[in-house]
Amino acid sequence: MARMKFLCDADRCIECNACVTACKNEHEVPWGINRRRVVTINDGLPGERSVSMACMHCTDAPCAAVCPVNCFYTTADAVVLHSKDTCIGCGYCFYACPFGAPQYPRVGNFGTRGKMDKCTYCAGGPEADMTQAEYVKYGANRLAEGKLPLCAEMCSTKALLAGDGDIIADIYRERVVTRGYGSGAWGWRTAYGETVSV
């Protein structure tokens, strides 16, 4: 079984935000919810690098550990998903997430959190694959169609890689060897407890 991961090659990322709007487009994500975002480190200075970030689908995901209602589960492809039927919008997964992935629509009388929403690795949710019910709650299920997440597929410079962790690590490694530099597999150590060594 594949172990799905994301890898953003910051030396390729130009902060074009295609990943962000591709995600919005594919899943009709509403205003205010950002399943993916691009952060620019060292903005405006030589050495500036941008990194596209979403749920990294961690190994031993901390969100799953703290969820009071156990709404998270990990698929056979190591994609971390959750059930919106179970989620109560407590916010704990956001506290625990090192990547700021969980998003909450502001609902309720106090402007408090609604049910959590996050990157599904384009793999839907617990509902039956590619159904209206799944789409409405979680968005499209590209994995079930044999496709990869649209953010990575549409990345303008092919900076954002998605797919089996070993394969994308190889791609990244090869790039670093070819070009002679690499600023690191951002978030890997935090998410997967390992990094891509070249």
């Binding site: 950002n34 200075l45 179970t86 090192p98 106090f110």
Partner: protein, 334 residues
């Protein structure tokens, strides 16, 4: 607006300071941005605990500017570890103590037996405040504990769907009942704070262990003895702490970053656990633990003998007032 930006400034400055060392001067003879690219490893090494690798983000939510915040995993560990442990120790501990106390001391009886005469201890407003506080607290405590332990205790029993539904309702109850809880806290504080200021009699009361451990010992006390005062202040201080942290958790927009939320959550959960333990003790002594105590909050009328044993000075005060004002309120209700 300015305030919001100023509030964010330290974070922005921190980021600038953190990364400034990596950035060569722009007027240099050669600037090679590729060669000076910021490295993840270097940033992660430089990171202090609680800090994030941050940058600029176009999304309006400033929290989105944190790219990687490894410290969040520590909270996850604390939440599963320290917070849960404190709650378990506090609640199971107090239960153990009470069981032991009951087994050893048994129910504290009114030594003089029921006199049949009652005096009013708490009026309607006081009782309303107390019971509002009590009722909301119990629901808040149970729904709160559900968040900590429900996944381990209840979920296997009822199944995931039902547990999700219960918890969702529980969360709503928790969010909404917080407000009457805070109202009750105010009522109780206003009604009783004057009686709960520490006084010299408390010293004697404490010296004698409140007479709890020995039959026939009844240290003098005013309307509230030192033990009750301790409960009062625990409730007030704990309640305020819970209210403050709770409101912050309810309105994350005002509460700053995820580190702040984590802080509030940890305080909230620990204070809640400790206060729950205290309240369990309070419930014990106010019900099965002591004969005649429940009436104070039940009907508001307590037996005079009970009152003389536990609140001798208060009884004298009440009697004195009654004498000064004939036709006073010493009549039973109705």
């Amino acid at each position: 607006m300015i305030k919001a930006i100023m509030a964010r400034m330290p974070a922005i400055l921190a980021v600038l300071v953190l990364f400034a060392f990596a950035a060569p001067e722009l007027s240099a003879q050669q600037i090679n941005p590729t060669a000076s690219a910021v490295q993840e490893e270097q940033l992660m090494r430089a990171l202090q605990s609680g800090e994030a690798v941050s940058g600029r983000v176009t999304i309006v939510d400033p929290r989105a500017a944190d790219l990687i915040k490894p410290g969040n995993k520590n909270w996850a560990a604390d939440h599963g570890g320290m917070v849960k442990t404190i709650n378990i120790v506090a609640i199971l501990g107090i239960l153990a103590v009470l069981v032991a106390f009951y087994l050893i001391r048994g129910k504290i009886r009114i030594e003089g037996g029921f006199s049949g005469r009652t005096i009013q201890r708490f009026n309607a407003i006081e009782r309303f405040g107390h019971w509002l506080l009590a009722a909301t607290f119990i629901v808040l405590a149970l729904t709160g504990l559900n968040l900590l332990f429900g996944r381990a205790l209840i979920l296997p029993l009822v199944g995931e769907g039902a547990f999700g539904t219960i918890s969702a309702w529980g969360k709503i109850a928790h969010n909404y009942l917080a407000w009457p809880f805070m109202l009750a806290l105010v009522i109780v504080f206003v009604a009783w704070v004057i009686h709960n200021l520490p006084s010299r009699t408390d010293v004697e009361w404490i010296k004698q262990g409140g007479g709890l451990f020995k039959k026939g010992v009844h240290p003098p006390a005013k309307k509230f003895n030192a033990g009750q005062k301790a409960i009062f202040w625990s409730v007030i201080i704990g309640g305020v702490a819970l209210s403050w942290t709770g409101v912050m958790l309810l309105f994350p927009e005002w509460a700053g970053s995820s580190s702040d939320w984590q802080f509030y959550q940890v305080i909230h959960a620990i204070v809640a656990g400790v206060l729950t333990a205290i309240i369990i003790a309070h419930i014990y002594i106010g019900s099965v633990g002591m004969e005649g105590a429940f009436d104070a909050m039940g009907t508001g009328q307590v037996d005079e003998n009970w009152a003389r044993e536990h609140h001798s000075l208060w009884v004298e005060e009440v009697k004195a007032r009654e004498n000064a004002a004939p036709g006073g309120a010493a009549q039973p209700a109705e």
